[in-house]
Symmetry: C2
Subunit: 374 residues, 2 copies
């Protein structure tokens, strides 16, 4: 038997280091306040499984869960280990929240807009059309009301949520034909899920829902005219640029998708305080690290796509304006119909408005100058 | 004697948990592979002092060191404690690097551009005029060559550096009179330190260096015509808006000042691996947290300043262009004169150029639309 396995079996039931310390010390004939043995303590062996909503092939977004897992292990001297499973290996991507709620696994990593069927307000934990940028989102989550408000929502699922990664503003996707004005969207067949799909539907798009593996062939055969996915690094691997040559931006329906770690509250309560701190700190690290990794990888992928002759195009202004109008109407209607939704919505848009004034001042003015084409 | 003090004395010499585990267990008559006592281990009691380059009154930037300190304590069940001292209490703000190098204290928190007198290339660890934005900086640090290159520089100081906070793009400062064109800078007396001051000097500004406490009175009396400081939240507390009513943006000399934790390498080497991990993870958390806190606080402060009648003004385009030209010439000259500077400079500007192409696509286009005045 390996030592670690033995240790695990000996201590798996223990969840509070301090309690075990006392009993162990008593066994050595020393009380906690007498002698050098008082410095000895135990850290219980805990093994968790983590289910991700993402496949291994999306290595950056999947990797955020690995960042958390590795750091938690380091922080606990290998005593708290978290094994990360990709989507589909234990459960499908859209059953992550449900599985954590039931306690089938202790922790999940997902995008909360996958679960707006359970509660529409969960979208604010991830992103909404024309919503916050990533800096506005982190400010709202860590120093505004965001974390408290989303935790109220997740309490209904017996889940404690932590921000756990972001892609930044995504691309608007791949179109076989050019979109010069709003009217060009009419009747085109586009794969776009979620709220973005609902807005596109109201702009005349024939919205399709296809699994990831089916998109390329549908685009190639003309069963689809367009698809959205993520950003250059992830998109390039799926090869859409080979069959749809117009790459539109920005993905106004995903201005800053925030990933979250979901932790079953019963499992959380069993952890000693230092293990809880290890999860919280590692989640914050995974949050900043995933964005930095995408920000590092996307530029080279975009260069490569452009070298391949892809046409980079902004959405026409009338598309942006109409999409914004529809999005705001849609969310206002949800707020009017549901007090729980309204509570978080009003805080979110109030913060957005206040933040925009500052964000467009120093940061955005500098960026407009620094990023200009030279 | 408090229990914690006792524990510290009993274990202060211990730096490797595993080594102590064995001897402690031996004292209990059990080998590591026999019995439940094998789960017991020690975590040594370690007490560090941290010197900050910032006063307590700058609560957000000073607070980043407290975030690290509190999290490290939680992660180690209170066994690794770091007491945070504000600038001037143990050493002045500009002796933080030197003190950590000498081992007077184990850890410091500072802005590396304070130390360009020791090595001009240290500026890249913080910020340079017309340099990276905060997302570009984090991508470069965590997933580009930034951390490896800056660590080469800090190795000469026996220091290991970790990114530890950012303000985002700062404001350009407070001017008694309006600046309508480049020529208006000629002869004005402005308090602006560092590289920004060198660039301003070349644009005809009469550059002044004053301590923080002297600025307000000098502005009020007309001994100064202008001063830069930070952003709305910090600036408002110093009251400059009462005596200089034009608030310019952006602070092109500080597009994303990154703070750093400096750790003495000998002290680092004495730590067990889990304590090292605690420092690394907490530094990353402090990094994302400080920016989020400024991003939360600055909008309200800006609103309040505007309500007070402050004139918010962008620097004229000819000022921006000339400042950029001078900045680039200055850094090119440093690179030509110093191979060590050139090594990091070329990586930095190569990354900046590659990143700008992507950053201006989805993220910046979305932000331009979302932040527009409505």
């Amino acid at each position: 038997m390996k030592r670690r396995e033995f240790v695990r079996k000996a201590t798996l039931g223990a969840v509070a280091g301090s309690a075990l310390t006392t009993s162990t010390l008593a066994g050595c004939g020393a009380s906690p306040d007498q002698g050098g043995a008082a410095a000895v303590q135990t850290r219980p062996r805990v093994r968790w499984q983590l289910i991700s909503s993402f496949p291994r092939s999306l290595d950056t977004i999947f990797g955020a869960a690995e960042v958390l897992s590795e750091r938690v292990s380091e922080l606990t001297d290998g005593r708290f280990t978290i094994r990360v499973f990709p989507a589909g290996e234990l459960v499908p991507y859209n059953q992550v929240l449900d599985s954590v709620q039931k306690g089938t696994v202790a922790i999940g990593h997902s995008a909360s807009y996958y679960f707006i069927g359970s509660n529409p307000a969960l979208a604010f934990d991830c992103t909404v059309p024309f919503g916050l940028t990533v800096r506005q989102y982190n400010a709202w989550m860590y120093h505004g009301n965001g974390l408290a408000l989303t935790r109220e929502l997740f309490a209904d699922f017996n889940v404690l949520n932590f921000p756990g990664g972001n892609t930044g503003t995504q691309m608007g996707g791949w179109f076989r034909d050019e979109i010069s004005e709003l009217g060009d969207l009419n009747g085109i067949k586009m794969r776009i899920p979620g709220l973005g799909g609902k807005v596109m539907d109201q702009m005349g798009v024939n919205v399709q829902v296809l699994a990831a593996g089916e998109i390329y062939t549908a685009l190639e055969r003309g069963a689809l005219d367009a698809t959205e996915w993520s950003g250059p690094y992830d998109d390039q691997r799926l090869g859409f640029h080979k069959v749809a040559r117009n790459y539109y931006y920005p993905g106004w329906w995903e201005p800053a998708p925030g990933l979250s770690f979901y932790i079953n509250r019963d499992e959380w309560a069993k952890l000693p305080a230092d293990y809880q701190a290890a999860l919280a700190s590692s989640a914050a690290e995974a949050n900043i690290d995933m964005l930095a990794e995408y920000d590092k990888k996307n530029p080279a992928a975009l260069e490569s796509l452009l070298a391949d002759g892809v046409n980079l195009r902004p959405f026409p202004q009338d598309v942006m304006l109409e999409a914004e109008r529809i999005s705001k109407d849609m969310m206002s209607a949800s707020a009017a119909a549901d007090p729980a939704y309204r509570k978080i919505y009003e805080d979110y848009i109030g913060w957005q408005k206040q933040s925009n004034r500052w964000m467009r001042t120093a940061e955005h003015t500098y960026a407009s100058f620094a990023f200009r084409e030279k």
